[in-house]
Amino acid sequence: MAGTGPHGRAERRSAGELESEVLATLWATDDALTPAEIQTEIGGGLAYNTVHTILKRLYDKGLVLRDVDGRRGAYRPAKNAAQLTAEAMHEALDRGPDPIAALQQFVTGLSRQEEEALRDLLGGTGP
């Protein structure tokens, strides 16, 4: 199997890609996260200062909130635009013919046997 492992590649990612990754990390959890916690979560040799810089940029764009839940230095994603996007997406999905179905979606349907095979692949750590 080819590959050098998922770590140690942070330096190859562009600033825009790192922004996406930090934002994705904040959205993946219900908790507010500090830069150190984000750094641990992402791994891949990302420097603390880099995480800090990226968070500042996301904050300036209004994509994250700072000092939330009474925790100084903790970040949480801003929800407004994301909620509007979700509404627009569901509206589009509910309306036929489905314009989202025409897109290259990350994954599509499974049969029952396929579902079981995938659970085996994930070795019980499945979702």
Binding site: T4, E19, L23, L63, A86, A92, A102, Q104, Q105, L122
Partner: protein, 299 residues
């Protein structure tokens, strides 16, 4: 004219029958590109062939018949009149099908544009605060990646990186352009429908391979796909099997073996298969022009 005008139609069948095999054996990036090019050439040539067949009806025009009668010339009939009439009918169907694809495409673009409203223009990731697991690329300048909160929280950190790299690959390699081109080709020539389906699968495989090399781990990439497929399945059961051509299990199986070889020779052969109908159509055009020159004095 008698034979080569039908060449594009026959070669479309041949291209459709080899497409799945090419897709299985050749690296997805190369296979997708050559199949789209060959399909576009074939569709253009077969549409042109229909136009040529329809154009032979010109000698049925009363003015032409009258003029030929006056000059005592015998009008050639390169193809039976029934064939020519059928070709005109087929052209009308092609026009309708192409229009439908274009409309669907524009409708999708409008929706996607709306989804990005309210998000800063210079940020790549557009999150939708939705409990339904979804992820897709939004083509444009710049391209964006839409992922729902449910999808993000279902994945491990390394798997989220796979997801982002996969969608990013769709954007950097302009997969939307390729998929629109092959959809138009299949609309113009329904015989090319299997090519369109193969290309849809190959674009996903291509993005998977790009993600695997960006993350540096084929296993993690396979696990990301498996987990995303399972959460999607839980969220909307019953839509299974509609998308067997995109079958995520086939993509996962491919990631658990070595990447497929590039095989430029096969790519060249597929391109040649696309060029042949174009040559046939060009030859038939020459023949028809000659015929018409005889029919319509003054050409």
């Amino acid at each position: 004219m008698r034979i080569d005008v039908y060449v594009p139609l026959v070669l479309a069948l041949l291209l459709a029958s080899v497409a799945p095999a090419v897709g299985r054996r050749v690296s997805p990036g190369l296979a997708a590109r050559v199949l789209v090019t060959a399909a576009a050439l074939t569709a253009a040539a077969s549409t042109w062939a229909l136009l040529l067949l329809g154009a032979t009806l010109v000698d049925q025009a009363p003015a032409v018949i009258a003029e030929a009668g006056e000059e005592g010339r015998i009008l050639p009939e390169p193809v039976p009149e029934t064939v020519a009439v059928l070709a005109v009918a087929a052209l009308a169907v092609v026009g309708h099908r192409v229009r439908r694809v274009v409309r669907a495409h524009l409708a999708t673009r409008r929706v996607l544009h709306r989804l990005c409203e309210g998000h800063p223009p210079d940020s790549e990731l557009v999150v939708a605060a939705s409990p339904s697991p979804q992820a897709f690329a939004i083509p444009g300048r710049p391209g964006r990646i839409l992922v729902t909160a449910a999808m993000l929280s279902a994945l491990e950190p390394a798997e989220r990186r796979v997801l982002l790299a996969h969608e990013r690959a769709h954007l950097t390699h302009r997969h939307a352009v390729l998929s629109t081109a092959v959809a138009l080709a299949a609309a113009a020539n329904p015989l090319l429908t299997p090519v369109r389906d193969t290309v849809a699968f190959l674009l996903e495989r291509w993005a998977d391979e790009e993600a695997a090399s960006a993350v540096g781990d084929r296993n993690t990439t396979a696990r990301a796909l498996a987990r995303a497929a399972l959460v999607s399945q839980r969220a909307r059961p019953g839509c299974a099997l509609h998308f067997s051509e995109h079958a995520v299990t086939r993509r996962i199986a491919a990631l658990r073996t070595a990447p497929p070889p590039v095989m430029r020779s096969v790519g060249a052969a597929v391109l040649a298969l696309g060029a042949l109908p174009a040559l046939g159509a060009a030859d038939a055009t020459g023949d028809l022009v000659q015929l018409l020159a005889g029919t319509l004095p003054g050409w």
